[in-house]
Every structure is written in structure tokens, then in C-alpha cells.
């Protein structure tokens, strides 16, 4: 898990870390490969492992949406609620990438977390 601020993905991770210093794990993931473009962890959670599995979650949901044949619909984000944690997957880069964020639900304001991720969307186009 690493990031370099010379890339947009790395810059996005740095920005998110600045705004959400208490986060547990963060990654910017390329959907076609399931690999992290940039990542960081402040906990026991391996963001690169999570990136791979969550890529499958995203692809399966895209498959579900294809079966619905919805016109003009895209997936914006996926929020996974666990007992004490929130895992947020925000789709960016026209469905080619996503930002993956893990926070402790008791310590983090979800609205703020979503706003912080939203602010990175332009950077990751």
C-alpha cells in the first residue's frame, strides 16, 4: 500500500488523508485490473486486497444493472454498512475507477466523508 503525490490518484489519496485523518483505509482503484493506483492504511485493513475484491463487487453490480436495461443510469456509489465500519466505494473516471474508503462509523461523519470523496472526482477524471 503506497501512493506517490506525483500522480492524480496519489494526490487524491493525500487530499483525502488530509481531510479525514482518522480514516482506516483508502485506495484509488482501477476497475479493469482490480489494482490500486494509490493506497494507504491506518489500520489492519489491507487496501490492496480490498481493492481486488471490491472490484468484483462493482462488476457484479454493473452486471445487475445491465440486466435491468436501465436507460441513462450510472452507478454513483456503494455504501457497505458493517457493525462498526463503513466501506464506501465511489465510482469516478466515467466508471473506470473507484475510490475505496473505510472509516469507523462511530467516529466519522458520513456526510463529510462523502463530500471529501466527491471533491476528488475532478482530479480523477
Amino acid at each position: 500500500m503506497a501512493y506517490s503525490t506525483s500522480t492524480p490518484a496519489g494526490q487524491a489519496v493525500q487530499n483525502i488523508l488530509n481531510d479525514l485523518p482518522g480514516l482506516m483505509a483508502i485506495a484509488v482503484v482501477d476497475i479493469s485490473s482490480g489494482m490500486s493506483l494509490a493506497s494507504h492504511t491506518n489500520s489492519g485493513i489491507n487496501p490492496d486486497t480490498a481493492a481486488a475484491y471490491n472490484t468484483e463487487v462493482v462488476k457484479q453490480k454493473q452486471k445487475a444493472m445491465a440486466a435491468l436495461k436501465l436507460q441513462g443510469e450510472t452507478m454513483d456509489d456503494i455504501l457497505i454498512t458493517l457493525t462498526n465500519q463503513l466501506h464506501l466505494i465511489k465510482l469516478v473516471g466515467e466508471g473506470k475507477k473507484f475510490i475505496y474508503l473505510v472509516v469507523n462509523s462511530r467516529e466519522t461523519n458520513l456526510a463529510i466523508a462523502r463530500e471529501v470523496l466527491r471533491a476528488q472526482v475532478d482530479l480523477l477524471k
Binding site: 452486471k63 443510469e73 452507478m75 454498512t81 462498526n84
Partner: protein, 178 residues
């Protein structure tokens, strides 16, 4: 171990999917299956994959009750369905409008939940974390997948964002399963 660690997904062939997808009317469509033959009388022949027992009438009634409760709270729903997490089959559901693709959608959503559970396993979180629900925000729609661990079911809700908000949708599904 993860919630769904004992899943075995059987990929269904196209003819099977077509046979299962029925044309729908407006309201309640509980997709019924032909009941499985009683185990005691089944002849023992060449080895077969373990048969998944058909859901009991009681299970179906419970599933339909869950659907009814959600529909009552969110009458502007697009889809409400109870899906078996292990097989991806629909136990009960209601579709506003056409239900085209319902069978594949249910299976794919069950797969979404399964992949999420695999992720939680892989991150070694299962001791302290249980999957409660998955909320998917589309442009105009909201999809919520609530896990009902006691029966290994999923409660699937699709609703328009103009008709409700994510917090309310989650609250309705939480309340449906008391």
C-alpha cells in the same frame, strides 16, 4: 467464517433462465418453482450434485410478509424482493411495472452480497464486523440490499431517489425485519 462461506452458486443455463422468467402483471408475483421430489422416494442412481431443497411454504409466506411490510412503508417502490442468498432465487417479490430481467437481477445482486462477504473475510474482519446492508446510489434510483442472516436471505429494494432518501430506505428495511 464469513456469513455466506458455505455458498455454492450453480450457474443457470439460458434455457433455465428463460423458463424461470415469467411475464408479469402489475402486482405480486411470487415466482413459484415445481416442488422438489420427496427425498425418501428419489431413486439412487448416478452421483448428482446435492439438491437444493425447495423453499417451504412457510418460508415463502414469511418472505411474502416481509415484502408486504416494505411495500406498505414505501408504496412508490420500483422493486421489492426477498432473495435466497445462497441460490440467488427469488422467494417473493413485487415489481411496479414490468419485471423483465428480475431473475438475473436477483442472482446478480446475490452475487454482489457474496463478493462483499468474501471481501470482509479476506480482510480478516469477521470477528468484529457483520454485514448489515449495501446501499447503491444510481443517478435516479436507489438500491438497497439488506442481509437477513437468520434465514440467509436478502431483502432487495429499488426505489427512485425522488421518492425517498437513502436513510429512510435503510430504516424501512431495518424495520421490516424485526
Amino acid at each position: 467464517m464469513g456469513l455466506f462461506s458455505s455458498l455454492s452458486f450453480r450457474k443457470r443455463s439460458q434455457p433455465e433462465l428463460v423458463a424461470e422468467a415469467e411475464p408479469t402483471a402489475e402486482v405480486a408475483v411470487a415466482l413459484a418453482e415445481a416442488p422438489a421430489p420427496a427425498e425418501a422416494t428419489a431413486p439412487i442412481s448416478a452421483p448428482e450434485p446435492a439438491a437444493v431443497p425447495a423453499p417451504s411454504a412457510q418460508a415463502r409466506a414469511q418472505a411474502e410478509e416481509l415484502v408486504r411490510r416494505v411495500v406498505q412503508e414505501l408504496p412508490t417502490f420500483i422493486t421489492v424482493a426477498v432473495v435466497d442468498a445462497a441460490t440467488g432465487k427469488i422467494l417473493a417479490g413485487q415489481w411496479a411495472g414490468h419485471s423483465g430481467g428480475a431473475v438475473e437481477v436477483a442472482a446478480a445482486n446475490a452475487e454482489v452480497v457474496r463478493q462483499t462477504s468474501l471481501c470482509i473475510d479476506a480482510l480478516h474482519l469477521t470477528e468484529t464486523e457483520q454485514l448489515a446492508d449495501i446501499l447503491i446510489t444510481l443517478r435516479q434510483q436507489l438500491h438497497v440490499l439488506r442481509v437477513l442472516p437468520q434465514a440467509n436471505w436478502l431483502l432487495y429494494l429499488a426505489v427512485r431517489t425522488q421518492d425517498t432518501n437513502p436513510a429512510l430506505a435503510r430504516a424501512v428495511l431495518q424495520m421490516a425485519d424485526y
